[in-house]
C-alpha cells in the first residue's frame, strides 16, 4: 500500500509541478499569473485522447498535434487576455481576463468534447502494478522538461533572452531585445509544458473537462509553496503536495484530503507568504 501511495503521489505531484512550471514560465516574462495554466493541462489529456483514440493518429503525431494546439492557445491567451491589460498591471485585471478566457476554453471543451471523463490511450504499454507507465511517465516527463528548460535557459541565446526579460523588462528592451515576441514565445512554451503535463498524466487523470479548475488550484499550490518564478521550488512543492494528497486520500478519504490540502495551503501561506524558497518582498516606497 505504501508503495502505491508513493507511486501515485509522485505521479500526480509531477503533473502539479509541471503546471506550476507553466504558471512560472508565463509569469517570468509578463508578471501575470494566468488561470489558463490548469486548462492547458486539461487540454493535454483531452487533445491526446481526441487525436490518438478518436482520430486514430500515431502516438508521436498525436503528441505533436496536442503540443501544437496548446502552443496556439498559449499565443492566443497572450493576445486576448494578457497584452490588453498589461498596461494596468497594478489593477490586477489579468486575474479576470485570464479567468474569463480559461472558462471559455473549459465550456467549449465541455460542450464539444464531453462532460464525462473519457479514456486516455495507453502510450507505451510498459510496466504493471506500481511500475505501470501511468505512474512513471509524468515523473520522467517532469524530469526531462526540467532538464530541457535548464538547458534552454543556461545554454541558448533565446533562453538567456527570456531570463533577461524576466529579470528586468525595461533594461532588456533598452538592449534591443524583442520583448513582445519573447513574451509571446514564452506563452507558447508554457502552454506546451502545460499540455505535456496533461498528456503524460492522461492515463491517471483521464480526458476530462473538469480537470481544468482542479489542476489550476493544485498546480498553483507548488508555485505558492516554492516561491513565485522558482521552478525548482515548484518541483519540490509539487512532489510534496502529490505525496501529501495521496497519503491523506488513503488515510482519511478523498473529500477530507482536499480539505487537508486546502488547510495546509492557507496555513503555509500565512506562515511564509513569499513561499518556502522564494525571495522577500519587493520595494514599495
Amino acid at each position: 500500500m505504501l508503495y502505491s501511495i508513493i507511486a501515485s503521489g509522485l505521479a500526480v505531484g509531477a503533473v502539479y509541478a509541471l503546471i506550476g512550471i507553466t504558471y512560472n514560465t508565463m509569469f517570468a516574462t509578463s508578471r501575470v499569473m494566468s488561470f489558463t495554466a490548469g486548462q492547458l493541462g486539461m487540454l493535454g489529456g483531452v487533445l491526446g485522447s481526441l487525436f490518438i483514440l478518436r482520430l486514430g493518429l500515431p502516438i508521436v503525431v498525436g503528441l505533436a498535434a496536442t503540443l501544437l494546439v496548446c502552443a496556439a492557445i498559449g499565443v492566443l491567451t497572450e493576445f486576448v487576455a494578457v497584452r490588453p491589460v498589461l498596461k494596468s498591471l497594478d489593477q490586477h485585471l489579468y486575474v479576470l481576463s485570464t479567468l474569463a478566457f480559461a472558462l471559455m476554453i473549459q465550456q467549449i471543451t465541455a460542450t464539444e468534447w464531453s462532460t464525462e471523463p473519457q479514456p486516455f490511450p495507453r502510450l507505451l504499454g510498459i510496466g504493471e502494478g506500481i511500475w505501470d507507465e501511468k505512474y512513471w511517465l509524468p515523473v520522467v516527463t517532469c524530469a526531462v522538461t526540467i532538464a530541457a528548460l535548464e538547458y534552454l535557459y543556461r545554454r541558448t541565446l533565446i533562453g538567456r533572452a527570456f531570463l533577461a526579460v524576466a529579470e528586468d523588462n525595461f533594461a532588456a528592451r533598452a538592449l534591443g531585445l524583442p520583448e513582445r515576441n519573447l513574451r509571446v514565445a514564452s506563452y507558447a512554451l508554457a502552454a506546451m509544458v502545460g499540455g505535456l503535463a496533461g498528456f503524460s498524466g492522461g492515463q491517471l487523470l483521464l480526458a476530462f473537462f473538469a480537470n481544468g479548475p482542479q489542476l489550476n488550484f493544485y498546480g498553483f499550490i507548488p508555485v505558492a509553496l516554492g516561491g513565485l518564478g522558482n521552478n525548482r521550488g515548484a518541483v519540490i512543492g509539487g512532489v510534496a503536495l502529490g505525496l501529501f494528497q495521496q497519503a491523506a486520500n488513503f488515510a482519511v478519504g478523498g473529500i477530507f484530503a482536499s480539505v487537508a490540502v486546502f488547510v495546509m495551503f492557507i496555513a503555509i501561506l500565512l506562515a511564509v507568504p513569499q513561499g518556502l524558497f522564494g525571495s522577500s518582498s519587493a520595494r514599495r516606497v
Binding site: S88, Q91, H92, L99, M104, I108, A224, G253, R284
Partner: protein, 579 residues
C-alpha cells in the same frame, strides 16, 4: 440622478406583487437574495479591490447550514429563523478564513484561495452524504408564516435587500469605506495615515461572509430543495460580474448589474447551455472595454469642465484654527542610524535632531540617502542599527502603520492619492484615526458614527482651506494638476495634527509662484509648533524657509548649520550646490 434610480427600483419592487404572478415573485426574490450577497461582496471587490472570485462557496455553506439545522438530521430540529442566523454566523466565520490570505498576500493568491475553497465546498457537499445528502441533496428550511408563501418570502427578501443596501451605503460613506478604497488605490499612503489594512479587511470579511451565509439560507428556502448542482461556479461568476458591470466604488452600479444579470437568463433562455461561456465572455468584455462599469456612465459630475485659471491660495487663519488643538510639541531625534542594502550603506551612522517649531532642510545629491531617511523615520525601512525617538517616546523601527498615531505624517515624492475619490474624501482619509465609532456603529449609522463623519468632514474642509484647495473640494482627485496634488497631500497630512511633518520634495513640479506660497505654508505650519523635515532640491526654497539644514552625501552628514553657514560651506558648494 442616483436617487431616481433607487426610487424607480423601489417602485418596481412595490408594484410587482400587484401583478399577482408567482413566477415574477420568484424572479424578484432571487434578485433580492443575490443582492444581499452581492451588497456585502461589493465592499470586498468594489471598495477594497480584493478579487474574491469563489463566493458561491459561502453561499452554499449558508444554504447547507440553514437546511441541515432546520431539517434536524444531525442535531434536533432548529427554528428556521435561528437556522438562518446560524447560516449568517457560519458564513461570517468562513468569510474570514477564506479572506486570511488577502491580509498578507498578493491579489492572485486571494483569488486562488477563494476559488480553491469553492472547489472544496462542492466536494464536501457531494461526499459527506450523512449530513448533506450527497448528490441527492436535502430540503431547504421551510419558513414559518407569514413567510411561507412565495409573496411572504418575497417581502422578507426584499426587506433584507433594502436593509443590506442601507448598511453597505453607511459603511461606504464612513471612514471605513474610505479606508477600504485607500488600501485599494493608495496602500502606502493609507498606511501613512494609520490605516491598518488587515484591521479594516477583517471587519468587511466578517460582514460580507455573514451576508453571503444569510443569502444562502434564503436561497435554500426559495429552492425548497438543494443539491450541490445548485451552486455551480456560474453563480460565483454572476456575483462577481454584477459588481464589475456596476463599477467599483459604487453601490447603485452593482445593484443595477445584479438586476440585469438575474433577468438575463429569463430573456435569453436558449443560451442556458452556454451560460458559463456567456458570463466569461461578458467578463472579458467588461475588463477590456469598460473597466469603469455602469457607475462611470452615470457619473456626469466628473465630465464638467474645471476652471482653467485657478490658483492655490493657502489661508493662514484656517491653518491656525486647524492646528490650534495640536498636541504637545516634541523633537525628533535620530542617533546612529545605519541602513545597508546588501553591501551598499544607504545611511551610514546618521544623527539628526529636528526641533519643534522649526523647518529642518535635508539636502544632498541624488542617492545621498534623503528619501531613505524619511522612509526610515516613517517606518517603511528597518535600519540595522540606531535609535529613533519623538520626545521621550522611542519609535519602533519598521512599523509604518503606527506612525500616524504617534503624530508623524508625511507626503510622498510622487503624490499618492485616490484618483477616483473627491479631493475632500482624499483629505478625509487622513482623518481616519480621528473617528471613534466602531465598524458596527458605522454599519448602522448610529449617532457616534454620524458625529465622527461631521467632525472629520469639518476638519477636512478646514485643512483644504488652510492649503488653499477649498474650491476644489468636490472634484475628483485625478482631475487635479500635479501641483494641486502636492498641496492635497499636505492637507491630508495636517488632518492628524502632526507633531512631525515629513515632506518629500514638495516643490517638485511647481511654478515659481506656487513654490513661494508653498514655502510660506510650510513655514506657517512649523510656527504652529510642528517639527518639519523637508527634503528638497530647490536650493532657493531651502535657504528661504529653513531654520537649519543638514547636507547628506553618500549616507553621511557632510555639513550641518543655518542656511547661511551652509551656503558658505566649501565642500557643500563643490559636492552639491555648484559654484
Amino acid at each position: 440622478m442616483t436617487a431616481w434610480f433607487y426610487v424607480a427600483i423601489l417602485g418596481v419592487l412595490l408594484l410587482l406583487p400587484l401583478t399577482g404572478n408567482e413566477y415574477r415573485a420568484l424572479i424578484g426574490t432571487r434578485a433580492a437574495i443575490y443582492w444581499v450577497l452581492i451588497a456585502g461582496l461589493n465592499l470586498i471587490v468594489g471598495f477594497a479591490g480584493q478579487l474574491a472570485i469563489g463566493y458561491v462557496a459561502l453561499f452554499a455553506l449558508g444554504a447547507y447550514t440553514a437546511s441541515i439545522l432546520a431539517a434536524g438530521n444531525v442535531i434536533p430540529e432548529v427554528h428556521p429563523a435561528l437556522a438562518l442566523i446560524a447560516a449568517m454566523g457560519v458564513g461570517a466565520i468562513f468569510g474570514l478564513v477564506v479572506g486570511l490570505p488577502a491580509l498578507r498576500l498578493r491579489t492572485f493568491y486571494f483569488a486562488m484561495s477563494t476559488l480553491g475553497f469553492a472547489t472544496i465546498v462542492t466536494q464536501v457537499a457531494l461526499g459527506w452524504q450523512d449530513v448533506t445528502g450527497g448528490g441527492i441533496g436535502l430540503s431547504g428550511p421551510s419558513l414559518r408564516p407569514p413567510f411561507d408563501t412565495p409573496w411572504g418570502l418575497y417581502w422578507l427578501s426584499v426587506g433584507l435587500a433594502i436593509a443590506f443596501t442601507i448598511m453597505t451605503a453607511n459603511v461606504a460613506q464612513s471612514r471605513f469605506g474610505r479606508a477600504l478604497i485607500a488600501t485599494r488605490d493608495a496602500e502606502v499612503a493609507a498606511e501613512a495615515c494609520g490605516i491598518s489594512k488587515p484591521k479594516v479587511l477583517v471587519s468587511v470579511f466578517l460582514f460580507a461572509g455573514a451576508a453571503a451565509g444569510l443569502a444562502g439560507g434564503l436561497f435554500a428556502s426559495l429552492q425548497t430543495y438543494i443539491t450541490p448542482d445548485a451552486f455551480t461556479f456560474d453563480l460565483s461568476l454572476l456575483f462577481f460580474i454584477a459588481i464589475l458591470i456596476g463599477g467599483r466604488g459604487s453601490i447603485l452600479g452593482p445593484l443595477l448589474g445584479t438586476i440585469l444579470l438575474t433577468l438575463l437568463p429569463e430573456v435569453a433562455a436558449p443560451l442556458a447551455a452556454w451560460s458559463t461561456f456567456v458570463y466569461a465572455g461578458l467578463l472579458l468584455l467588461i475588463v477590456l472595454a469598460m473597466p469603469g462599469g455602469i457607475a462611470a456612465l452615470l457619473d456626469r459630475e466628473s465630465r464638467k469642465a474645471l476652471p482653467s485659471e485657478r490658483a492655490i491660495l493657502p489661508q493662514h487663519q484656517a491653518l491656525q484654527a486647524l492646528l490650534s488643538t495640536a498636541r504637545k510639541k516634541q523633537r525628533l531625534q535620530l542617533s546612529g542610524i545605519l541602513l545597508a542594502f546588501g553591501g551598499l550603506k544607504a545611511i551610514d551612522g546618521l544623527d539628526l535632531v529636528v526641533e519643534p517649531g522649526e523647518v529642518h532642510g535635508l539636502i544632498g545629491p541624488n542617492g545621498s540617502g534623503k528619501t531613505t531617511t524619511l522612509n526610515v523615520i516613517s517606518g517603511y525601512y528597518k535600519p540595522q542599527r540606531g535609535t529613533m525617538a519623538l520626545g521621550e517616546m522611542a519609535l519602533a523601527a519598521g512599523r509604518p502603520v503606527g506612525r500616524a498615531a504617534d503624530g508623524i505624517c508625511r507626503t510622498f515624492q510622487t503624490p499618492r492619492v485616490i484618483g477616483e475619490e473627491t479631493v475632500l474624501e482624499n483629505v478625509m482619509v487622513g482623518g481616519t484615526l480621528a473617528g471613534q465609532a466602531s465598524f458596527v456603529e458605522a454599519l448602522l449609522s448610529l449617532p457616534r458614527a454620524r458625529a465622527d463623519e461631521r467632525r472629520i468632514k469639518a476638519m477636512a474642509m478646514q485643512a483644504l482651506t488652510a492649503v488653499g484647495l477649498d474650491n476644489l473640494a468636490g472634484i475628483r482627485a485625478d482631475r487635479l494638476q500635479h501641483s494641486e496634488l502636492r498641496f492635497l497631500e499636505i492637507a491630508r497630512a495636517l488632518m492628524l495634527h502632526p507633531r512631525l511633518l515629513l515632506l518629500d520634495e514638495p516643490a517638485a513640479g511647481l511654478s515659481v509662484q506656487e513654490i513661494k506660497r508653498l514655502g510660506a505654508l510650510i513655514k506657517a505650519i512649523s510656527r504652529e509648533g510642528v517639527a518639519v523635515l523637508l527634503v528638497e532640491h530647490h536650493a532657493d526654497l531651502i535657504f528661504d524657509i529653513c531654520d537649519r539644514v543638514t547636507v547628506l552625501n553618500l549616507g553621511r552628514i557632510l555639513a550641518y548649520g543655518t542656511p547661511s553657514e551652509i551656503r558658505a560651506h566649501k565642500e557643500v558648494v563643490s559636492v552639491y550646490l555648484g559654484a
